[in-house]
C-alpha cells in the first residue's frame, strides 16, 4: 500500500488510490488477468484481419487505401480501450449499483458520485485491445502515403477526444439505468457499434448514418477528420482539411453534456427515491 497521506486527498489523489486498490484486486488472480488480456488482444486483432483480407482482394475500396483504414481502425480501438479502462464503473452501473441498491452506499460517501464510479475499477483487461490498436495504427502510418509530422500531435489528441466520447457514452448509459435497468443492450449500438463504424471512412455510410456519427455521436470528429488531417487526405465530402486538428474537441463537449445528464439523473434519483 502507498504511504499514508497527511492531509485530505484531492480528487486526483483519491482516484489514484482507488485505481491502485482495484489493480491489487485484479492482480489477485494474475492467471485470469493474463488469459483475458491475451484473449482481448487476439479477438480484436482477428477483426482487423477481416478488413485486411478485403483490401488484399480488392487493393483499395472506394478510393481508400489499407493504410488510411488501418489508421482509422487503430484510432477508434485505442480510444475505446482507454474509455473501457476508465469507465468500467459506469458500464456495470445498472447491474452492480442500481439493481442491488448499492448506489445508496455510494451516496453515503462524501465525494462526487462520478469520481467514486471512475474509481470503481481501473480495468486492466482492455490492454489487449489497446496494444493491438496501437499496433495496427503504427502499421497504418507506415503503409499510408503522405503521413504528416503533425500526426504525432493530432493522433494522441484524437485518441483523447475519442476516449472522452466513449466515456461519455458509458456515463450516459449509466444515467439511463435510473429509468430502466432492462433493455440497455441498445446502448451497445453506440459503444461496440461505434467502434465498428469508426473503423471505416465516413463516405462508406449512407447519409442518415453519416449525420448520426457526425452530429449526435461525434465519432467522425474524433476519428475520421483527425485521420484525414494526419494523412493529408482531402475530405471527399468537402470539409476543409484543417477541421481535423480541432474536431476532437467535440468528444470532450459530448462528455461534458453526458456529465450534466448524469448530475440531473442523480438529482432525480435523490428526489424520487427510485
Amino acid at each position: 500500500m502507498s504511504p499514508s497521506p497527511t492531509r485530505t486527498l484531492g480528487a486526483f489523489g483519491l482516484y489514484r488510490r482507488m485505481a491502485g486498490a482495484s489493480i491489487i484486486a485484479q492482480l489477485r488472480y494474475p492467471g485470469t488477468f493474463i488469459i483475458q488480456a491475451i484473449g482481448n488482444f487476439v479477438t480484436t486483432l482477428l477483426s482487423f484481419f477481416g478488413i485486411w483480407s478485403l483490401f488484399q482482394r480488392f487493393g483499395s475500396i472506394a478510393g481508400w487505401d489499407i493504410g488510411t483504414v488501418a489508421v482509422l481502425y487503430g484510432l477508434v480501438n485505442v480510444a475505446f480501450s482507454v474509455a473501457e479502462t476508465l469507465g468500467r464503473g459506469f458500464e456495470v452501473f445498472g447491474g452492480e449499483y442500481v439493481r442491488t441498491g448499492s448506489f445508496d452506499r455510494l451516496l453515503l460517501r462524501p465525494r462526487s458520485t462520478l469520481l467514486l464510479l471512475l474509481g470503481h475499477e481501473l480495468r486492466l483487461r482492455p490492454i489487449g485491445r489497446f496494444l493491438q490498436g496501437v499496433f495496427v495504427l503504427v502499421a497504418g502510418l507506415w503503409l499510408a502515403p503522405h503521413v504528416q509530422w503533425t500526426a504525432t500531435l493530432v493522433l494522441p489528441w484524437a485518441v483523447a477526444g475519442g476516449a472522452a466520447m466513449f466515456l461519455g457514452v458509458l456515463i450516459g448509459q449509466a444515467a439511463l439505468c435510473f429509468i430502466t435497468v432492462e433493455g440497455l443492450e441498445v446502448v451497445n449500438v453506440l459503444t461496440y457499434g461505434g467502434v465498428e463504424a469508426g473503423q471505416y471512412p465516413l463516405t462508406m455510410f449512407g447519409r442518415w448514418l453519416r449525420r448520426f456519427i457526425t452530429f449526435v455521436l461525434p465519432l467522425a470528429a474524433v476519428c475520421y477528420y483527425p485521420a484525414l488531417f494526419s494523412l493529408h487526405h482531402p475530405d471527399p465530402l468537402g470539409l476543409p482539411i484543417w477541421i481535423g486538428a480541432f474536431s476532437p474537441l467535440a468528444g470532450f463537449v459530448f462528455l461534458g453534456i453526458m456529465v450534466l445528464a448524469w448530475n440531473r439523473a442523480v438529482a432525480g434519483y435523490v428526489s424520487s427515491g427510485s
Binding site: 500500500m1 499514508s4 497521506p5 497527511t6 492531509r7 485530505t8 486527498l9 489523489g13 483519491l14 488510490r17 482507488m18 486498490a21 491489487i24 484486486a25 489477485r28 442491488t100 441498491g101 448499492s102 445508496d104 452506499r105 451516496l107 453515503l108 460517501r109 462524501p110 465525494r111 462526487s112 467514486l116 435523490v270 428526489s271 424520487s272 427515491g273 427510485s274
Partner: protein, 326 residues
Amino acid sequence: MQTPLSSNDAITVRDLQKIYRIREGGSWRGKTRDILALNGISFSIPKGQIAGFIGPNGAGKSTAIKILSGILRPSSGEVRVNGLIPWANRVEHVARIGVVFGQRTQLWWDLSVGEGLALLRDIYGVDSGRFARNRARLADALDLGGIMDQSVRQLSLGQRMRAEIAASLIHDPDILILDEPTIGLDAPSKLAVRAFVHELCRDRGTTVLLTTHDMHDIEALAERVIVIGHGRILADSPFEDLRTTTLSERILELDFNGTPPELTLPTGATETTRTPHSLTITFDPHQIPAPALVAHVGQLPGLDDVRVSRPSIDEIITRFYADHAA
C-alpha cells in the same frame, strides 16, 4: 439557512412527509399512483442518546433513514442532523455520519479489511495520526486483529459485520445510523455488537439511531423507542412504558408431579394452558399482585415448581402492532 432547531439535539425532524410517485404497470406512459410513505412525523434525538426506530415492514422506516442519511429528499418537512439539512449538502452531511446497512457492505469484496479501511481514510480525508488511533481502537474493541489481512469475501457474517461497524466509524462520526446491524448473526456476535454500541455511546457520546426487527437489540440498547406505522409515529417512549401500556399482563407457570388439580382463580387471573403436568395462568398484576396469586396456588397438592414471567418483547410488539393495525 442551516441554523439548528435546537443545538442540544443531534437529530430534529418536524412534519416530515414523503410521497412516492409510482408508475402503474411499469410502462413509461402509464398512469401514476401516489404512495404516502411518511405522513408527517416529528421527533428529536438529543446528543448521545441511543434511540430505537422500529416498525413493521413497509411502515416508512427505511424512507426516514434514507432522508436522515441525505440520500433521499422529502416531499415536505424540516430536518436537521448535526445542524445540517441532509439533502441540501450531501457531501458535507455524510462526512459527519456513519451508516451501517446490515444487508449491504461498504467495504470492498476483493480487498482486505485493512486495505478497505485505508481506502475509506482517503475517501473521508482522515489524517494519518487520527486514522492510526481509530484503527487501533476499533480493531481492539471489535476484535479485528485476526481479520485485518483477510479479504472481505472470505469473512463470516459476524466478522464482516464487525468490520462494517469499524468502517462506519473510521472518520469519528457524531451520529451512527444502524440499519439491522445484527441480522443473521449468531448469538456471540450479536452480544459483541450490542456491547460495542453501548460502549461507543457511553465513552464517546455518539448518538445512535438503531432500526431493527430484533427486539432484543432494542431491549439491550435503546433508552427510547420510536414506533412507526403507516408513515406515522405510533409511540415514542422508553421501552418500559410501551410494555406497561401495551401488555402489562404476567404469566404464572405451575408444574405438578401428577395431574394438575381443578382450581378456582381470583379475579384478574385466567387459566390459559393445561397439559398433563403443568398449568399456565395469565394474570393482571394490578388486579391480583403476583405474591397474592402465588400464595393462593402455593398449597395445591403435587405442586413441583412455580415460575412468574413477563411476556417477551416480541409478544409485546406484536400486540402493539395489532392494537394499532400497523
